[in-house]
Symmetry: C2
């Protein structure tokens, strides 16, 4: 493992600390929860960082606020733009709205009505493109950005976004120490790797005993395989997973070197483990978690994946539809009392 | 309204502050959450205190810990006893277990298997009695208490329990002020009145602009009617409500005078409002809330029930079964985007 000063890192602990200062007035300092029932299943203490309670229902608000608040005033006033139909878009919309600046979000015209509506309620202008008709979101977005002088904010390969996500690691370090946990694997969901890379840099600097383990769905385990191979490899085809929020083609360019240097081995979990984790989150933690947000909890509950007296995990997002929640409530769980 | 020095109050603000000191090392300082979607429905800011994230899934842990930690060491070492099949029992079981002392919980033999099992996992000895056969829980409990020197901890008519629940009010006062809210109705579910009375004393002392409004299900609105009549009146018959956790025969003896002196008018909400609030809590706040724990949110979302720029509410418990959660997810909600 390399040291903190590794020059290939997109941000330093100082950048993360500065993001934390900018976030302080608005961020929800989400609790680190523990349940005796989950401890029993895992055979060790399970500490769960409840980022589903973050503004907009996911940790993505941290990165969005960090990036927007870091812009110089004149640039920021012109507005920002994002390509996303998911949690990053909601984070950008809300962070821009709180800053009083315009946000444009480019989404496929065939996105679910609720996603379109949510992003609008949060204050963004939604511009749709015709995915089926071959229209490119980049072309639509670049034309708009140029015309209005908008700043594009990428979801993970963006230093200020990575710094914002890293603030979640600073909070965990403090909260875990407060309950006596200083040595543990920290399970983190991994799409492009913004959260896991930001947290890895933060934890390496302030809590050496806490080590990030990236977690992915079994059929979109590009980071797991890339870490094993020592270079970025892509997912094969168009992975079919209920964890759509964290399916990305490859690990990020900026994030992967950080994970190589600082993270432990990747872990992959099945859709069934994810549904079980969603059910246990609802009944034992009282938290609604979306599939992509539940992979880290699924890994934490799998006692073969970690060692020691404790394991930490982040439940990262809760933006899920009724049908999937009902499906999760119907699975047979690993908690015997729940059936 | 009477002043804080009213001699008929079971506890003072000092007692509540002392309870807060005893609770500090173990309590979850639950977040005060806000959602743009809920603000839009209510037509004002809605601040939601997420006590479903408290240890054991409800605020009852506060009162249980407060009462057990206030006992002298010798008395405490002999153990405690409670009559309950619900959240108070779980709070007592877990607080006793963390203190390393025995807890006995008397429950009907025909209680749901999950409630029996949960209370046992939390560390209590469950003793069942034959409700149908006419066995009295008091007789069973008193015999055990006498034999083993156990201390009975009542769910609400118990000063140290009221003091513990009051600590939730201290946290709200601080958290609401931090987000700029100093004048608002504070919707609180009301069964026996332990939480609403404790919070009323706390808020009257530290945040005069925040006023408790007790909330009940329409067909178990004994506190609403008692406040109107100026004396404790009982519910009629055996009220049928999905909010079983907060159905009590009458307001408490110790708690009612506090509500008379310090609380605003009571509010009652229908089962349909409660199911709608449960659905919105899941989809907009990412919180699982049981029916009795959702009445205050239901009242907060009803814009005819309060005035001003903001309303505060406590979602008090999340111990609910799968069938009810599925039922709530199926109701047509007041949030148009959700259907």
């Amino acid at each position: 493992m390399s040291s903190q000063s590794d020059s290939c890192f997109p941000v330093t602990i100082e950048t993360i600390r500065q993001a934390a200062v900018r976030l302080a007035p608005v961020v929800v300092k989400t609790p680190l929860l523990e349940s005796p029932y989950l401890n029993e299943i895992a055979g060790r203490r399970v500490l769960v960082k409840a980022e589903v309670l973050q503004r907009t229902g996911s940790f993505k608000f941290r990165g969005a606020w960090s990036a927007i608040s870091a812009l110089d005033e004149q640039t920021r006033a012109r507005g920002v733009i994002a390509y996303s139909s998911g949690n990053h878009a909601q984070g950008i919309a809300h962070a821009a709205s709180l800053h009083g600046i315009p946000a444009t979000v480019i989404m496929p015209a065939d996105s679910p009505a609720m996603k379109l509506s949510n992003t609008q309620v949060l204050g963004a202008t939604v511009v749709t493109y015709d995915r089926a008709g071959g229209e490119s979101r980049e072309a639509v977005g670049e034309a708009l950005a140029e015309k209005h002088g908008l700043t594009l904010i990428r979801p993970y390969d963006e230093p200020m976004v990575i710094a914002g996500q890293g603030t979640c690691g600073l909070e965990i370090a403090e909260q875990a120490a407060a309950v006596g946990v200083e040595e543990a694997d920290v399970m983190v969901c991994c799409g492009g790797g913004g959260l896991s890379a930001g947290m890895a840099i933060a934890l390496d600097a302030v809590a050496k005993g806490l080590r990030v383990r990236p977690v992915e769905p079994t059929n979109a385990d590009d980071t797991c395989r890339s870490l094993l191979k020592g270079e970025r490899v892509a997912n094969v085809g168009n992975p079919d997973s209920i964890c759509d929020a964290i399916v990305t083609p490859t690990p990020g360019e900026l994030t992967f070197p950080v994970l190589q240097a600082l993270a432990g081995a990747g872990i992959s979990v099945s859709d069934e483990q994810v549904l079980n984790a969603m059910k246990l989150a609802m009944l034992r933690l009282k938290l609604v978690v979306e599939p992509g947000g539940a992979v880290a909890l699924a890994a934490a509950l799998d006692s073969s994946q970690s060692h020691g007296d404790a394991v930490v995990c982040v439940v990262t997002g809760g933006n899920v539809d009724i049908q999937l929640l009902t499906q999760a409530l119907g699975v047979v769980s690993t908690d015997a009392a729940l059936g």
